[in-house]
Symmetry: C2
Subunit: 97 residues, 2 copies
């Protein structure tokens, strides 16, 4: 398996509605992109200070299938319409499981 991990930091003025909309829209991607094998997202629980805001952990059969997800129009639409407007910082790693 091939795992994609991305952590997103929202801007300080990001509203609860905007944060919830990111989660709602991302949750629809596994149905739109059949290459996705596992998709677990979530808002930071607030246990530690200085954390990022949101996590996406997605699994694929191969790096090629991850790239299909990365470049899929449904994914790019969520990034452009929901994520980019409230994105302050981003960190990502892909690794072999």
């Amino acid at each position: 398996m091939f795992r994609h991990v991305v952590l997103l930091q929202w801007t300080e003025d990001a509203t609860e509605e905007q944060r919830a909309e990111v989660a709602r829209r991302l949750s629809g991607l596994p149905d739109a992109i059949p290459e996705v094998r596992s998709y677990r997202i979530g808002h930071d629980a607030g246990v530690n200070e200085d954390n990022y805001s949101f996590a996406v952990v997605a699994e694929f059969d191969s790096p090629e299938d991850y790239v299909v997800y990365r470049d899929h129009p449904a994914h790019l639409a969520v990034i452009e319409e929901c994520i980019a407007p409230i994105l302050a910082d981003r960190a990502a790693v892909q690794y072999v499981l």
Copy 2:
């Protein structure tokens, strides 16, 4: 389940030996800390530019069990001895699965 995700960026002068030592030492933590339910680490696969260097995705029964891991002497020793000397940046999120 409660998932802890951390992405680490190494300094440019971090050696292959230092990077491998982080993975080797972290791999021993599940045996040392019984609260760890799942522990999957890995070096970035190099599919994308501007990625971080290394990922840790760990799962626990509860936030309290995660805190046991976070503050465990065996974990703190790996951070102090292997991670801190080559750490350029860090991003983390904990979230409910």
